[in-house]
Symmetry: C2
Subunit: 330 residues, 2 copies
């Protein structure tokens, strides 16, 4: 560990993992935590349990706000473990002087999103801190879900399996960057922020055997694929031209010098299924987003690694993102 914590330690990529491993896992060590899934599985495998703090800036952005994000983020982590979001806690830290009207607007967004998930806030906490102690408002949501599809895990990928994304990638990261920098977009670009439980339920109802499932938040699709390749000790091969990216997102990536696969999403997931299930899964995903795509498959070429295959036949490793990505993206 470096002497001081840097922005890179919160990037959802390599330095973030280092911080978690060297400080939190080291002292909190236990079997459940070390599985590193989106949510912990507890209470005899019946329940999923997950937490997220939201520090996004600005608080309101095209397609959403911190309230919608806070409910989606936590409910999605539950849905990604095959769990139905059920009970949430909501803890807010508010800077003195914050507008009551804006707070109510945020809470209303939360309520709307809770309804989509069929979940409720059952406990809360409110702290108000003096001006300058926090930038406007942070929210923590922690959730409990009831497991409906057991065995979803980053550790179960095997050769031949198919990898899909549920829609085009990078919209949240690009939207927040544009909103923060005051970039006027002619386009209608907005965050992908959305509750994913309905799509997961549709996959389950269609009888798809979900092997692995993860929403591509901080660190983007790159982080998910790298974590899966490592956890399952397999190679994931992606066809680069298959990765769906909106034109406006591509434009912002060029400005930033980032790749769309490294950008955060808040309503986009990566899915691993057996080859036999891939067409059915794609059909289900298309009901929500026509940009859903089969982007690659699992091989045994370079275990623990992700390979990007270009349409010109070249290959390169897609690594875990490093360095200072966008802070306060979620």
């Amino acid at each position: 560990m470096t002497k001081n914590i840097t922005i890179a330690h919160g990037n959802g990529g390599e330095e973030n993992n280092e911080l978690i491993k060297n400080i939190f896992y080291k002292h909190f060590e236990n079997e459940i935590l070390s599985k590193s899934e989106d949510a912990a599985i507890i209470h005899n495998g019946e329940l999923a349990f997950t937490t997220d703090s939201f520090t996004v800036s600005p608080l309101f952005f095209p397609g959403g706000d911190i309230g919608k994000l806070a409910v989606c983020g936590t409910c999605n982590d539950l849905a990604m473990m095959g769990a139905k979001p059920k009970y949430l806690t909501c803890s807010v830290i508010i800077e003195e002087g914050f507008s009551s009207r804006e707070l109510e607007k945020i809470v209303r967004s939360m309520k709307k999103e809770l309804e989509i998930n069929g979940a409720m806030v059952v406990s809360g906490d409110t702290k108000v801190v003096p001006k300058g102690s926090v930038d406007k408002l942070f929210i923590n949501t922690t959730g409990i879900g009831e497991i409906e599809h057991k065995g979803i895990s980053a550790h179960n990928l095997k050769e031949g399996m198919s990898i899909l994304v549920s829609r085009d990638v990078g919209a949240h990261g690009a939207t927040i960057f544009a909103a923060r920098e005051g970039i006027e977009l002619e386009s209608s670009l907005e965050t992908d922020c959305a509750s994913l439980y309905p799509q997961v339920k549709a996959l389950m109802d269609a009888g798809i055997d979900i092997i692995a499932l993860r929403d591509a938040t901080r660190g983007g699709v790159s982080a998910v694929l790298n974590e899966w390749a490592k956890a399952s000790d397999v190679c994931i091969e992606i066809k680069e031209e298959k990765i769906p990216v909106q034109e406006q997102v591509k434009g912002i990536c060029e400005m930033l010098g980032f790749e769309a696969v490294d950008l955060a999403n808040e309503g986009t997931f990566v899915l691993a299924v057996s080859k036999g299930d891939e067409e059915n899964a794609l059909e289900v995903l298309h009901q929500t987003h026509e940009t859903a795509t089969i982007i690659g498959s699992v091989s045994d070429q370079h275990k623990g690694k992700v390979i990007l295959n270009s349409s010109w036949g070249t290959k390169r490793f897609l690594d875990l993102p490093t360095g200072e990505l966008l802070p306060r993206i979620c």
Copy 2:
């Protein structure tokens, strides 16, 4: 609601209740949340679920630090519902540049306190925000406990029942104030911050029928007694001279113009039991703190009110604290 949120809205007293009622309860409305207990009872009454964010300043203080506080605070809310703390999530928001060594020290304190509770952190989240977006470090802990003693509730107090405090009151509030203001105390005053599950277990093992139980955090003993009087529609009569307060705490109260019963505690609880259980309960509490005391009883004189009876025979209402108490006390 006022147009903007003020420090008073986080005081654990009247304005805090107003904020919670007018914004959060209003939109999140449901039967579990509206019970306003220390923790929500979920999953067929098997589990307790509670959240707390910690913003205490300074991070390190006599007798504890933010890590100890974060584990005690959440585990205590579970213990106060007769639940054994079991699973915790830990979400930290760190200011860029924060010392890794201090972070590790905080995590070590958390670990030590988790062991006292027999609980573990099973899921976490780490955010790093740019300098100035947060003051050093905030922690959210959210916990699940397994209910061992059903039916503990603020709504069950009845005439004739006895009210006890588990030790002298106000130590946490006084300690933080002194540490923040750089007041040099000749004394050994330190926070009461401690895990309360062992004491609750001792009460249960002794066969005490716990009617109501609450740790006197923000808003102090005053807030607990007022909430109970209201929730159960009874009068709580307290003998003022029976309330145990350390001399140093009294001194700091005089400086601040506060009353010790309004100051925050982090390891002190108020207990309601039947008259027949009071001596046994006191005996159990004395095993941990010899300052534990029977401070009053439930009557029907002024329903919904708390009365302080002085040793000179005068009476006054003890109201819910209002105004700007100490911010960032927990």
